[in-house]
């Protein structure tokens, strides 16, 4: 009997052994199931097509959306793509965009932060009360405002991670509680104007009038981008790994260069152009740093891991509590920082700064930009793309003289469309075998 049972088992092994052994001499070729990208540019195109068919749309829908928005509004009103309008979009994008970066962090964890609007209000109030009312050093007041944001975020993270209260509830409580604190702090004045020449005033009020600033930044960005791609490609070749073909690097660099220099030109050259806005520089700096942290550091990898499978992350030795608390702290920090931008734009801190649709716009930006609501998938740059979509729509509708109620409805429809695209692409990914 033992021979009887052993025999088939032995045979089965032999049959599975044989094809494996036959495969090994030429490992790179044969198996059609292997997703080996062909070298060269056609390989890149085929890979791109395969991804789109498989539902990995990435930033494609947003970029198409932005182009459509630009064309539609430009046809309706020729001043949409004017220097003034573009500069406006850039400046208005930055404050909310910085807050959206914080939301992207939280969404990567698969959580939500509903308190960012109130935290922005508290940040602005802290700065205004300290600096304007009580004469504290301007820089110190800015620093304290940001630290207050970090402290608030840490508190949210503590209740969520350690106590186990759902983040939705913690931050909803925060949303109410912190706006109460904001109104209480602003109590005597109701609104505090930003003094001219203060740090906060120049956040969105300062422009680099020297044309070299805009072009220089564009040049540095393009060189850094091309350099990092080339270096990466060279190292991958040295390690005998598949690398980007030179044609792809050139194409990517070309696109980035085109965008960078067109924006720099529009900000610098036409009549009425004021130069490169400081707000845009700060926003780009936040984006670059956050993107680096998320994609290239262990900490960022751990955020993705916790967002994907917290239990697996815990078993891999990751301190899940620490990651969760720190991510909420980052969200609070960026919310307070963004609040200072809003105060700067609206000319001062008020009782209701950050209320209304601020929160919704910020979350909508992150989602429209392509960061999944379900955790573990997304890019920092989606904060920029999504915010550009929202601000372009608002700017365009303003130019057309549309009332704000129409703006709300259109922004709502765009948000719904973005989430529909996210859900449909997830379903396509499922049918293509990728959840």
């Amino acid at each position: 009997m033992s021979d009887l049972t052993k025999q088939p088992a032995g045979e089965e092994q032999a049959t599975t052994e044989a094809p494996a052994a036959a495969d090994t001499p030429q490992p790179a070729a044969v198996d059609p199931r292997l997703l080996v990208r062909e070298q060269g540019f056609t390989g890149y195109l085929n890979d791109f097509k395969r991804r789109v068919r498989g539902g990995e749309l990435g930033s494609l829908p947003v970029i198409i959306g932005l182009i459509v928005i630009a064309i539609v509004f430009q046809l309706k009103n020729s001043s949409f793509l004017s220097a003034d309008s573009i500069a406006n979009i850039g400046v208005y994008t930055s404050g909310l965009g910085i807050m959206a970066v914080g939301i992207v962090f939280v969404l990567l964890l698969g959580e939500i932060d509903l308190s960012v609007g109130s935290v922005a209000g508290v940040g602005a109030a802290v700065w205004a009360v300290l600096s304007v009312t009580n004469g504290v050093n301007d820089w110190l007041a800015v620093l304290i405002a940001i630290v207050a944001g970090i402290a608030i975020g840490t508190l949210h993270g503590f209740f969520f991670a350690k106590i186990g209260v759902p983040a939705f509830v913690v931050t909803l409580a925060g949303f109410l509680g912190w706006s109460g604190l904001q109104i209480w702090m602003m109590g005597n004045e109701g609104s505090i104007n930003t003094p001219s020449g203060s740090v906060v005033e120049s956040l969105t009020g300062y422009y680099f009038e020297d044309k070299a600033a805009g072009y220089g930044l564009a040049l540095v960005a393009v060189l850094a981008y091309a350099g990092s791609l080339l270096l990466d490609s060279k190292r991958r070749k040295a390690a005998a790994l598949p690398s980007r073909p030179l044609s792809e690097i050139l194409l990517r660099t070309g696109v980035v260069a085109l965008i960078a220099f067109v924006v720099a030109y529009v900000l610098n050259e036409p009549a009425g152009a004021r130069g490169l806005p400081l707000a845009l520089v700060l926003f780009l700096a936040v984006l670059v740093i956050a993107d680096f942290v998320v994609r290239r550091t262990t900490y960022g990898r751990q955020i993705f891991a916790v967002g994907g499978n917290a239990e697996a992350a815990r078993r891999a030795g990751i301190n899940v509590h620490k990651i969760r608390i720190s991510v909420f702290a980052i969200s609070g920090m960026l919310a307070a920082f963004g609040g200072l931008f809003i105060a700067s734009l609206s000319g001062g801190a008020t009782k209701n700064l950050g209320s209304g649709n601020t929160l919704m716009n910020v979350i909508a930006a992150a989602v429209i930009g392509g960061t999944s609501l379900f955790g573990g998938r997304g890019k920092i740059w989606s904060a920029l793309l999504g915010m550009l979509v929202i601000q372009s729509i608002q700017q365009g509708l303003n130019l057309l003289g549309m009332a704000s109620e129409i703006q709300y409805m259109i922004t709502g429809a765009v948000l719904l469309a973005a989430v529909v695209i996210d859900s449909v692409s997830r379903r396509t990914q499922k049918t293509a075998g990728r959840t």
Partner: protein, 263 residues
Amino acid sequence: MSATPVLALRGISKRFGAVQALTDVTLEIHPGEVVALVGDNGAGKSTLVKTISGVHPVDDGAIEWEGRTVGINKPHDAQELGVATVYQDLALCDNLDVVANLYLGSEIRTAGVLDEIAMEKRAKELLDTLSIRIPSVRIPVAALSGGQRQVVAIARALIGDPKVVILDEPTAALGVEQTAQVLDLVERLRERGLGVILISHNMADVQAVADRVAVLRLGRNNGVFDVEGTSHEEIIAAITGASDNAVTRRKARTNQVKKEAGA
């Protein structure tokens, strides 16, 4: 097979309150050996594995690592010694790609920055030496089949260069071909000189790859068998605790003639 076992359990006992989960259990694992750990539900297999992997410290008895007595009180101790455990639920992050999963918790860094290229290169080398075929090391684990996920989870256990690998039901829920692939991989672990503890309910798998079978019954040793020259029935008898039981009675009833011929 070398004379000193890489891991030896001597007289291990473990209580949970009033429940005596393990009583005086002895087990030896040699390098380059696959030991199947079998037993009915509740026999103490999982508890035994958890004492080795440091989840539950033992109450009584000694654990010897390469001949010297060691204490394993937390999972970290086990990892330090070189014990890697692949749990049944795999614990992979679906949203991360294969490379990121392999190195999760032990990323390679140069100057504080993730060294993706070094990780990808080494991941490829590791998968090649194990003859693991997956579509690409840069696709999310969610896109892999059940068998591919299992081999990735096993490969992940090998990143820290362990000496003993514990596999908890690696072939449960796998199809025929995928099971064969995982069993191939278990044999490759043995060829690399690793000691493998394989928990399985599937006797065909056990007989296909294991060198020895250790049977637990009600928290006690109930025999260690060499797979060569031990019949299916003997192992089943040891698992269920008697040669006279529902399984053998049924066999005897339905297959009497054949059984006599085989014996």
